[in-house]
């Protein structure tokens, strides 16, 4: 256990020392500043024009979902790119040799790194989602939509992608792993949209293609489920076209995604254990 914690601690420490955390915070702050400016001007315009309260609420709810959509996209990129070289880079450079020759299991290295990266990417999701929630609250006051309810499902989505990126690093070079992990998310993203468009167009075949894509790469369907759950009834009807809730993933997909994450982590451990260093 001490070696797992040592690896996790090193991962966190490295992220701080390599200014990854600083860069993430600066980018998050820049994103929130732009988002807040947009939100502020839209809200001021609505007040100035004397729009009815329900209309103001609806606009703010849509903009909150827009903010979360952008936060989700940033989190996805962060979760894929942050750990992309954590194993492949250390294997290529030889750093891993003095670590793996210590009296520890190879699994400790993978799990320790996974744990450290999970803390960082979940912290990033938390920062962005709370940032969006706080921005909306400060500018528009209370609205009937709670962004923080999306957090647990977003955690699952982000940790799944991060785990995939770590697992790829046990076999692939850094660049190949980055391309593969982003491609893996791309399948989910495109599959999600095909499923939605199929839903609107009434095409069961298109929906099926989308569902199969989501089973292969379940990350985006988890985001769609999160986005659906936080929306009030009115917005579900109105905002469906924009934010992909015409075909709603079932709770079973959550279990599938969780199982997928665990299976990917087990693969990462086995693959790294069998690897020649």
């Amino acid at each position: 256990m001490q070696s797992i914690l040592a690896m996790a601690h090193l991962t966190l420490y490295e992220s701080r020392r390599r200014r990854i955390v600083t860069a993430a915070i600066v980018c998050a702050a820049a994103f929130l500043a732009v988002y807040a400016a947009g939100l502020f001007f839209v809200h001021r315009e609505q007040i100035r024009e004397g729009r009815p309260f329900f209309q103001q609420q609806g606009t703010m709810q849509v903009l909150t979902i827009v903010g979360l959509f952008a936060a989700n996209f940033l989190s996805v990129l962060f979760a894929v790119l942050l750990p992309v070289d954590t194993l492949s880079g250390e294997i290529d450079s030889g750093v891993i040799q003095t670590v793996a020759s210590k009296p520890i299991r190879r699994a400790d290295i993978v799990i320790g790194k996974w744990l450290g990266h999970a803390v960082i990417v979940m912290g990033y999701v938390l920062l962005l989602v709370l940032g969006v929630a706080l921005t909306v609250r400060l500018i528009a006051g209370p609205i009937a939509l709670q962004p923080i309810q999306a957090i647990p499902l977003m955690f699952l989505e982000i940790v799944l992608l991060m785990t995939f990126s770590i697992a790829g690093g046990t076999r692939l070079s850094t660049v190949t792993n980055g391309v593969t992990a982003l491609g893996f998310y791309g399948i989910a993203f495109v599959g999600g949209w095909i499923e939605q468009i199929g839903g609107f167009a009434g095409s069961q075949a298109a929906k099926t293609v989308g569902i199969v894509a989501s089973l292969i790469s379940p990350a985006d369907s988890i985001w769609r489920l999160a986005s659906y759950h936080i929306q009030p009834e009115t917005l579900r009807n109105f905002g469906a076209a924009l934010f992909a809730t015409s075909s709603i993933p079932t709770t079973l997909m959550v279990w599938w995604a969780a199982g997928f994450t665990v299976a990917t982590l087990i693969f990462a451990v086995r693959s790294f254990s069998a690897r020649q260093l």
Binding site: L10, Y13, R17, Q97, S101, K102, P103, I104
Partner: protein
């Protein structure tokens, strides 16, 4: 546990179609400073990696510190300095050693004291709190050496430990190896600097094309001595008479003869005989074969580059 800290029989490793190690059969005794020699590409680093479980062998068997290869408990008593020592370069030397110490299960003030002692021993105490990315190659090598000794190991693998060091750094490594010998630590040394190996090792093994082909003990009295003499005149009678003193007589130039005698005690009698029979003696010198000469002889001329 037997007296052997490393005991392997026929270890073999393939990388795709390439046979990197064909037959690694080694016996290294406790407390020995053991040199592992061979030309580039002979499979030395792969052999060390197999002994450290970084690479899984495809055949053969082996034990390290009495335990089968891959045993974690055995690795708790092993130190390793890789040939190309790389590390998490955003850390300081102290942080790096603390991290590696934790992987050995060490912690607290005992670990901190040990780190301070090792940093002082490798002359890095003053630079200990600077990130290692700013270190020179020699400083990195010394950091790696401290890392290899963190757990006060019974067995240390040093893969080219002096490749980045200046003469003073090399002397430091040699001193540390001497200290390890005094403490009874076994050192497995892979180095291309044969002079260094000759000065520090008790025994060496030669590896050629992934196979251990010869082992020898250094610094022990040998069964014979090669002698080179410059004399004149050189005639058949002289050659005939020399046979009484030794064997393998050969003429390497117009006035230089080489031969093999049993021991140094033969030399005065040989000199007396030459002078008494009226031969002019310009030189008479025993020649001890250097490790480099052994290396060339054992490896064969075909191993020379070009």
């Amino acid at each position: 546990m037997s007296d052997l800290v490393i005991d392997t029989r026929g270890l073999r490793k393939w990388f795709g179609p390439t046979l990197a190690v064909a037959d690694l059969s080694l016996s290294v005794r406790a407390g020995e400073i053991f040199g592992f020699l061979g030309p580039n590409g002979a499979g030395k680093t792969t052999s060390i990696k197999m002994l450290l479980s970084l690479v899984h062998p495809d055949g053969g068997e082996g034990r390290v510190l009495g335990q089968p290869l891959g045993d974690r408990l055995a690795r708790a008593n092993v130190g390793f300095l890789p040939e190309h020592f790389r590390f998490h370069d955003c850390l300081t030397a102290r942080e790096l050693l603390r991290f590696h110490g934790r992987l050995y299960g060490l912690s607290g003030s005992a670990l901190d004291m040990r780190i301070d002692r090792l940093l002082a021993r490798v002359d890095l105490l003053e630079a200990a709190d600077r990130p290692v990315r700013g270190y020179s190659k020699g400083m990195l090598q010394r950091t790696g050496l401290a890392q290899a000794l963190l757990n006060d190991p019974q067995l240390v693998f040093l893969d080219e430990p002096t490749s980045g060091l200046d003469p003073l750094g090399r002397l430091l490594v040699r001193d540390i190896i001497s200290e390890l010998r005094e403490r009874g630590t076994t050192v497995f040394l892979n180095s291309h600097l044969l002079g260094e190996v000759e000065a520090t090792c008790d025994r060496v093994a030669f590896v050629k094309q992934g196979r251990t082909i010869h082992e020898m003990t250094l610094g022990q009295p040998v069964d014979f001595i090669d002698v080179e003499m410059r004399v004149s005149p050189l005639d058949a009678c002289l050659l005939e008479g020399l046979r009484a003193f030794g064997s393998a007589i050969s003429q390497s130039s117009a006035d230089i003869l080489r031969m093999r005698v049993e021991s140094e005690a033969t030399l005065p009698a040989l000199a007396r005989w030459l002078v008494e029979r009226g031969t002019n003696v310009y030189g008479l010198q025993p020649r001890r074969k250097s490790l480099e000469e052994w290396f060339v002889e054992v490896m064969g001329e075909d191993q020379r580059p070009g």
